[in-house]
């Protein structure tokens, strides 16, 4: 058992080694790089399963293995890894989805000349994500966190010759960095306040009762508890990574990378990191819940940010025409759901949704990748259509994913996890607003997913590319089928009738609820889902689009609103006008300061120096130099005289050596006797 904890580091280390192998092998060694990557991630998956079995044997415990990284002064910087059900479930999910995505990439990236680098970066990405999951220290987590950022930069900008890809990579990197700044400040503050960054350390970790008590007892500016402030700062990091409301702008642009990367980012790794982070530090976030006098709870902010994101993402998704963009905004929206769950106090529901979402979103992205691959990189759904005929497997699996995402009741996993979130929000007594916004998003989700499927797969092919589409090879469809199966089955782990996942995650047995307990909510959400699907069916499937240029029925009804949503609610423009302009203004101010104020001062100093120098030169020329010249001349003459001794003749040297020996020997004899 403890052995499993000690060797937990192998789970991220294996893909890291694969990345190193991929980095050093020559470019043409494609099979080596890909084989190493897949073998490593598959091994990680096996290890994760072992870790899961270990964790489930004792679900309430947080098994940690800590060690000193290095010592600074008296204290040591400690790192470690942690095994608890949360870690184990996440590891299994991430490594499993990653394995399937890696295999899918074999087919998808086959023609790419940088195939080898791709697998190197993928392995690095997976390694960093697994590092986040297993770390028992906020510092180690942050290191892996930044590695995820780096790997995402490399992967989003993988086709860096495309300007839009390069820009998207930059955008993703910089936007997440804004959130990371807050995160890092939070880490520093936490280290200062708690004296440790370990999560669990036998009673001294920051997530354990003693530390949490001191943290929530201290009050800082604005009457906030220290734990609240730190929690909010940490949440900044999650906002950036998980694409929450003000910083969600990078996520849709990240579609510029290859589709397997999008699947990896959206399903298993990058965006999940933020949700995982909040779930991991949930005790810290929730530490202020008991404080009656607190003006503001950290989790409240999480819930509201999540609600705004959920609704916003769904609204924008309705008006997008790019398959991957629709899916991207759906991810934004679903991440909002998870944040709602965290905010309203049910981190189990959040993780449940995270797991189910990982499977069906990976399925959807890989399905989209299959479509894109088949139709020669045509991503505009107006120019596709009618693919259900030639691409039966892709269609079937994509439809399963769509229904899971929409929350079609009772069969699909998305329903159960979303239901759990809605239920938790329903029971939240602070505000009803998140629940209302979430319910609104349910309708919209069902609507835009129906629209997506209808536009892509039904009707007639609307371009040459779509006409000549063909089913993808087995290396791509087999992962799809596996993921589709998982998308259905995974939901049954957490039904109210058999809440196995919840008891496994929390370590306390949870009694089964009757389905009738929240019957009104269930009925309501089922109705809403049916409304969304029905509306989508009516608008897009009954009367399929005839040509690629035809106007969207929604756009026809609400042209202004549709255009606003299609322009992604002008967030990029807003940021350009505010943050960007502020930045420009500040930069020009700095430039002016440099040029005028500091420049003037430097000018003055320089002029003074010049005067001093001129004075110095005059003195030198007239007085000192004459003396120095004479001395140097003398030195040169002496040197020339002595250099004559170096004749270059070996005989001479040997002779001098012999004579020197004789002289020394005579001296020794004369002074001899000793």
């Amino acid at each position: 058992m403890s052995l499993a904890v000690q060797h937990l580091w192998l789970i991220p280390a294996l893909p890291l080694v694969a990345a190193a192998i991929g980095a050093v092998v020559p470019r043409r060694a494609r099979a080596v790089a890909a084989g190493a990557a897949i073998a490593a991630i598959a091994s990680s998956f096996v290890l994760s399963c072992l870790a899961l079995s270990g964790a489930l044997a004792n679900p309430a415990a947080h098994l940690a293995f800590n060690f000193d990284w290095f010592c600074v002064g008296e204290g040591a910087l400690r790192l470690g890894w942690l095994l608890d059900p949360l870690t184990a479930f996440m590891c299994v999910m991430v490594s499993f989805v990653s394995t399937l995505i890696f295999i899918f990439s074999l087919g998808y990236m086959r023609e790419d000349e940088n195939f080898k680098q791709f697998f190197c970066f993928l392995s690095l990405f997976a390694a960093a994500m697994l590092g986040i999951i297993v770390s028992n220290s906020l510092l180690l987590l942050f290191i892996s966190w930044e590695l995820v950022g780096l790997a995402s930069y490399l992967l989003i900008g993988f086709w860096f010759t495309k300007p839009s890809a390069a820009a998207a990579a930059k955008k993703a990197f910089i936007t997440t960095r804004i959130g990371d700044l807050g995160f890092f400040l939070g880490i520093l503050w936490l280290n200062n306040a708690a004296g440790s960054l370990l999560f669990y350390d036998g009673g001294h970790g920051v997530l354990e009762a003693a530390t949490l008590g001191t943290l929530s007892a201290q009050v800082t500016l604005g009457g906030l508890a220290v734990s609240t402030a730190i929690g909010l700062l940490v949440f900044c990091g999650a906002i950036g990574k998980s694409g929450q409301f003000p910083l969600h702008v990078w996520l849709p642009d990240a579609m510029e990378g290859p589709t397997p990367v999008s699947a990896l980012i959206h399903a298993a790794t990058m965006v999940a990191a933020g949700v995982f982070l909040i779930a991991r530090v949930y005790p810290l976030m929730a530490a202020d819940q008991a404080l009656a006098h607190a003006p503001f709870h950290a989790l409240t902010a999480v819930a509201f940010i999540g609600a705004i994101t959920a609704l916003l993402g769904a609204l924008i998704a309705v008006a997008q025409n790019d398959i991957k963009r629709v899916l991207a905004f759906s991810t934004v929206s679903q991440l909002g759901y998870m944040m709602i769950a965290l905010g309203v106090g049910s981190w189990v529901a959040a993780i449940f949704h995270l797991l189910t979402h990982a499977f069906f979103k990976a399925l959807l992205f890989l399905g989209a990748g299959s479509v894109i691959h088949a139709s020669h990189h045509e991503q505009d759904m107006r120019r596709l259509g009618g693919l259900s005929g030639p691409m039966r497997i892709t269609f079937a699996t994509f439809a399963i994913g769509m229904m899971a995402l929409s929350g079609v009741p009772f069969v699909f996993s998305g329903y159960w996890s979303k239901e759990a979130i809605l239920h938790a929000a329903y029971e939240w007594n602070v505000s009803a607003l998140p629940l209302i916004m979430a319910l609104a998003a349910v309708v919209l989700t069902a609507f835009y997913m129906t629209r997506l499927v209808a536009e892509v797969f039904l009707g007639k092919p609307r371009s040459a590319a779509a006409q000549h589409a063909h089913e993808s090879p087995g290396v791509m469809t087999v992962p799809l089928i596996l993921l589709a199966a998982c998308s259905i089955l995974i939901g049954f782990l957490g039904t109210p009738a058999w809440p196995w996942l919840e008891s496994a995650l929390t370590g306390t047995p949870v009694e089964a609820h009757s389905l009738l307990e929240g019957a009104s909510l269930i009925v309501l959400s089922v109705l809403l889902v049916c409304t969304g699907i029905g509306a989508g069916w009516a608008l897009y499937a009954r009367r399929p689009r005839e040509t690629a240029e035809a106007i969207d029925p929604v756009e026809a009804a609400f042209p202004r609103a549709f255009a606003f949503a299609a322009a992604r609610m002008k967030f990029d423009e807003l940021y350009a006008a505010t943050v960007g302009r502020l930045n420009t203004a500040f930069a020009s101010l700095a430039a002016w300061m440099d040029r005028r104020v500091w420049g003037g001062v430097i000018d003055l100093v320089a002029r003074f120096g010049e005067m001093a120098g001129r004075f110095n030169k005059e003195t030198d020329d007239e007085g000192l130099n004459t003396g120095f010249n004479a001395a140097s001349e003398e030195l040169r003459t002496v040197g020339k005289f002595y250099s004559r001794a170096q004749t270059g003749e070996a005989h001479g040297y040997l002779r001098i050596l012999a004579l020197g020996f004789v002289v020394l020997a005579i001296l020794a004899i004369m002074g001899g006797g000793r």
């Binding site: 005989h651 002779r655 012999a658 004579l659 020996f661 004789v662 020997a665 005579i666 004899i669």
Partner: protein, 172 residues
Amino acid sequence: MTTALLLLICLVTLGSAATAMLLRNLIHSVLLLIGSWIGVAIFYLSCGAEFVAFAQLLVYVGAVSMVVLFAVLLTRRSRTDVTVSADTVSRAWSAVMAGGAVLAVLLYGALMTTLPAASAHGPAAPVKQLGAELMGIHAASLLVIGMILTVATLGSVVIASEEPSGKKEDAP
């Protein structure tokens, strides 16, 4: 009898060495020097240093002599490589003087010091003990020597095979 034998070996060795240094024929000089090396080896043998004697034979007579002979043949222009230049005589005089001075000092040291009159003591060290010491307390030195030999071999190959820039060797 032992002393007489030693004396004879000494005389042969010194004689061949001195003749080697006086001869004009380079090959003869080298062969005589090899003779004096053999003499030194026999001297070692008579001193009871078997191992060193055989090592001396193997290294000097087997290896160094071959290198020297190859070098002589590679750098030889005519059969008798002698051009008596003006400074030969003066250099010879200075050499004899320097050598004589050193010899005087050395002999003074060797003869005027009261040395223990002991003759050879005990049996010489067996080769096995030698090996044990080489691999034991002197292992580090052995490694260093191995290193030096390797580097010297590589270095001499590089030096000897280097073509002067610009000037190409005439094809043979």
